[in-house]
Amino acid sequence: MLNFFSDTYYLFLKYLKLTWRMPMWTFFGLIQPLIWLLIYGQLFKGLSMLPKFPTKDYVQFLTPGVIIMTVLFGASWSGVSLLRDLRHGVMEKLLVAPIIRSSIVFSRLLHNGFTVVIQVFMLVIVAALIGAGLPRGQGLFWVWVIILLLAVGFSAISNALAMFLKEEEPLVVIGNMLTLPLLFFSPALVPADFMPKWMQVASRFNPVTYGVEAVRACYEGVFVQSFWTSMGILFFFAGLSVFFAVMTFQKAE
């Protein structure tokens, strides 16, 4: 057990070092969410004039969605960087070392969560500057938990897929194919009421939905039953994905 923590720690430190040395990647990950926030936010400004629209300002509505978008994009890169390790033989070297193999997974997920938190932090500041406000009360705490859970969950899936596919191209294609629909089948960009009924139903099976709703609750400062349900579902989703990823690594050949 002690080994598990030390293995995870030293690997996490290594990944952190790599990120620290190539900070550009962290910023690149922010470009697309910023475009959404700044440009689409303006483009669809009129949306908030519609009757039944939940917020006065579309940017206010959009910010939680874009936060989750950042998490998704960031997490889907995690698998790609795993392939880098595979290609250089770094992974093989880890797999023949007498470490607890799940520490490879955990260090990667922690690192990804950490990077995404930094990205979101910068995004939250930009959003605040253009009038989206800040999370309120205990929301200031919970919002990071939500982000961490979703980041860990999705990067676990990305890592498992990478381990399974072993090729960069299909991984990127699948990553792209999944992230946008996941966003569209959620209330990230438009309120759930605006979606056709069948999409509303489908969105209930999408972890992104719960992430968006929970972050929105943080911004509103309203922590009622539905918030805690969302949190529970996010915990469950993260746990399941991590379990799945650990299993693929245990069997890794």
């Binding site: 290594k14 070092k17 250089h88 023949v96 007498p98 470490i99």
Partner: protein, 439 residues
Amino acid sequence: MIQIDHLIKEFDPGSGIRAIDDISFNVSQGEVFGFLGPNGAGKTTTIKILTTLLQPTMGEVTVAGYNVTDDPLGVRMSFGYIGQQSGVDPALTVSENMMLQGRLYHLPKKKIEERIETLLQLFDMQGRGGQWVGSLSGGLKRRLDIVTALIHEPKLLILDEPTTGLDPKSRSDLWAYLRRLNKEEGMTLFLTTHHLEEVDQLADRVGILDSGRIRVIGTPDELKDSLGHDAIHLKLTVAIDNKMLSTFREKEWFKEVIQHGEEIRLYLEKGQEYLSKVIQWLTELGLSAKSVLLARPTFDDVYLKYTGKNWLLAGETAEDEWGNNKWAQKWKKKGDTSESESGSDWEGGGGNGEDWKKWAGQEDSTGSDEQKSKAVQTEDASANSIQSPDNEDQPWKKWGDQANTEWAASDEKGSDQKWPESDETSKADGQKDKPSGKN
């Protein structure tokens, strides 16, 4: 140190397609064991099983006393591994890589720092601790791979094609380091390679692997001796066919007859004595030679003998598979140069037997076999190339036609005869069996 007992690996269990097809052998402490084989032979697969990256489908594999299936963690503690790809992180420095490696083997920081210093010194890399791995040359990077793998003081080093992609200088440097590790530290080395020279230079024992089977195991000398003391490389004015080959094979003089491209290689004892007889015999058969070369068998020849089956029978596919392989290209080049060299020598007039004898006497005590045969081809080529009488008006074909029916019958036998032999040796491997040539 390593015991492999009837190991079988099927990537797709139940498919019957075996990447490793029932191999058994042992590597003892302090030994350098070289695993030689073409692409796809199963070298990496074997190594992955030894290093617990893959599970055996069947069979027992023990490394340093630990069973790879039952105690993978014990196995992992006991060896250092240098994979086919580098494995050090290019975005970290030399010492950061080594520090991380030490941490992953759960050594205390102090100990790791000591090891880093000792190892960098041992591999002449002092002062490079702070250097980016990405900025290291190929040879240095490979050295770093070894250094990193040694951090936890293993007694066994497993290397998968350690010198592939290195220039000749870096390669021989690396050999020197490995040899020193073995001699001075008593390190057991298990390495795979495409380079015949590499096993010749390093290995105490060599296993030749082809299509997942061990064709033969022995010391480099044993393997070379299995071919007889000398080799005659023969290029004829007509195309080689199976009938011709079996004629050669049936001749009692030769221990082994192998076709290599346009060349027939005849392996025999006392090549000098027989050289003139062979040429005379060729004349009797109505054949004429474009070039004749007397050489010591090298690992090229040994390799050809034991994996040549691939080369000959699966001609096209083998070419394709090996087309973009450095090793194959190197070999091709070798063939080309010797061709052009001997070609030009012919113009300069055929040598004579006396010169040849002189050469043999001079060279006998010098250098490795590899060097010797190079000397044959370059410095003294005219002396040992002997032109046979020009017999072009008696084409081989005519002679072949006469005996057509006879040859057709013995044809298949001829080629079959040879290979089961090596199958036998592969079954009886494990013990140091000396392969029996064709005697």
